[in-house]
Amino acid sequence: MDILISLLKVLIFPGFLFLSVYGFIAEFLDRKMYARMQNRVGPPWYQPIADFFKMIGKRTLIPADASPWIFRIMPFISLAAVSAAFLYVPVFGNKAVFSFDGDLIIVLYFLTMPPLASFLAGWYSRDVYATIGATRIMTQMFVYEVPLFISLLAPTLLVGSWSISDVTRYYSAHPLYALINIPVMITALIAFQCKLERAPFDSPEAETEVVSGALVEYSGRLLAFFRMSLDCELVLVISLFSAIFLPFTTGIVWVDFLLYLAKTLFTLLLLTLMKVSMARLKIVDVVTFCWKYLTSVALVQVVFNLLIRGVLKQ
């Protein structure tokens, strides 16, 4: 029976099915808000799902020069990594489906899989645009991973545990401590935007330069799943962000779930606002920005949090 319930949790709620449905909703909300902020009408609510099923029905073309095996498997690796990581993030109540001490590290490593998958997909497409896009993905990954890791680990220093569920529980108990983490909250938000390759950090898929970057040769079913994995990555990112930096829970499971929705949507709004309000940065500027500002702010916060921890322990 336990196995059945675990299976249900993994596959249905809050696992894969919830993740994909929420992914479509998040994509719709993102596009709708983006459109409304630009004074446009925006897509109808079923647009992401319609896109998905339309692409499923289209023929998949694989370039002659591409490595067919890698080309086919990459969308699913990306999707699998994101779905697996989502199980460690608390959604329903403040306990995740699975959790152990150190699952934050696992989630962060799973989070590097989608960009890596895009990179491999682009590199093995053997197309000029895809190659340039793939190298940009790699370049960008090397610069945002460091500030992202440091930003996410800084709050855990106060908790003393590297489990996401523990972090959530700790900060729910002491909500005021969360205010200490505001600088890394901002750096983490920017680094997440970088990871999601959204404007202003969307030079890997800048359509006016490299058409659509690494995924330029993808079509049909494979593209549908790649897009779905990106949607799910968006949900994973906003969930992770709200679990670590927005620690307000009541203890009542259903209310907490509603709070979770509110928190993630708020994060999504912030991400969309960032996307709306800036011009795309050049990849060289992204490198400078991430190393110069994000990393230094995050490092200062780590030192600060270590000091605070010493104070709190006494």
Partner: protein, 414 residues
Amino acid sequence: MSSPGRQRKMAEINNNQIEFPIGPQHPSLDEPGCFDITLEGEKVVNAVVGVGYNHRGLEKTCESRTYVQDLYIIERVCGICSHAHSSAFCMGIEELSGVQIPPRAEYIRVIIAELERLHSHLLWLGVACHEVGFDTMFMFTWRNREKVLDILATMGGNRVNYGVNTIGGVRRDLDPASIDMLQKTLDTLEKEIKYYANLAKTETTLISRLAGVGKLSKEDVLKYGAVGPVARASGVRDDIRVIEPYGAYKEIPVHMITDDHADVFGRTVVRILEMQESINIIRFCIQNIPDGPIAVKVPRRIPAGEVIIRVEAPRGEDIHYIRSNGTDIPDRVRVRAPTEANWHGMTHMLTGEYLADVPITIAAIDPCYSCTDRAIRVSSGRDVEVMDWRTLRRYGIDFYRKKGIDLSTLAVGR
């Protein structure tokens, strides 16, 4: 199966150099043009500009039709600066036949020309923002461009090919209702343009993408013969409305906008300030427009002769050469659109840039490929790509036929 139409192989990598094609079909280009960029990492080491995809045989067509018919063909040289082309053509014919057009007609031509400049510069600003990934600004500017287009549709009858000009004057008078609408729109636009000017000068992400990109110094402008806002952004005083006033510009005070940044940022600033100047000119015209007829009759047969006419199109100096032979059909019509002059500096501007700056550098001259390429009809059916495209079309038709929809009777787009 390989993807159709894109037989491009992974470029050979020699000395770390990659051949990177932008075009003929590319999201950053509004019209087909081909830029073969050689990249070293993200740096451009060489760029070859290939234009000529948009030949429609307009000049040849003009030689077989009457002046009246040619007017509408010339108007369709370009969608954005249609009024500039048709004004130049009309002015040339009027000059050849020695006709003086009524002052009211000249004022109406100026109003339309300045509205056209407004809508062209707003369009450019939007496209430029899109090239640097600032889609919000893109949507905002195009929202306001729509207001200008509404005015133009009210005054001329169409959104881009207004058809206001006729040989010997204009075809549509300015009625009080549209003047009211025009003034209201100008008020809102003025506010918006101030906002854009402020935004373009203070939004750091935008500045970082525009400043220092696509440098073309004053000496280079003189060397490569660049015109219009590109030349003015480098401090070259080159505005036909000022240096050689034509039509009603002889009476209207025009303030020439120049800038000395000599880069894409300078071109942005020049264009934004020019929009402000256009609004002032239109206001002046509305206040000072004389009454009277709007057109005079011009004989269909034009005396033999040749004439060179220059007007200031939104993109720069537009030169028309017309040679008549005493009949009602021109002997030779040659249109030198502003973009044609601006291509020559392009390789110079692109070399040494980052790949990310290539689209905005290309966009910064406000390229109009249709203007550049007017001369001859494009042909199809010559190489593998087209065959592939046909196969794909065949496949598409079969696909839909299975679903019960027959598309094969549709005309083949060519």
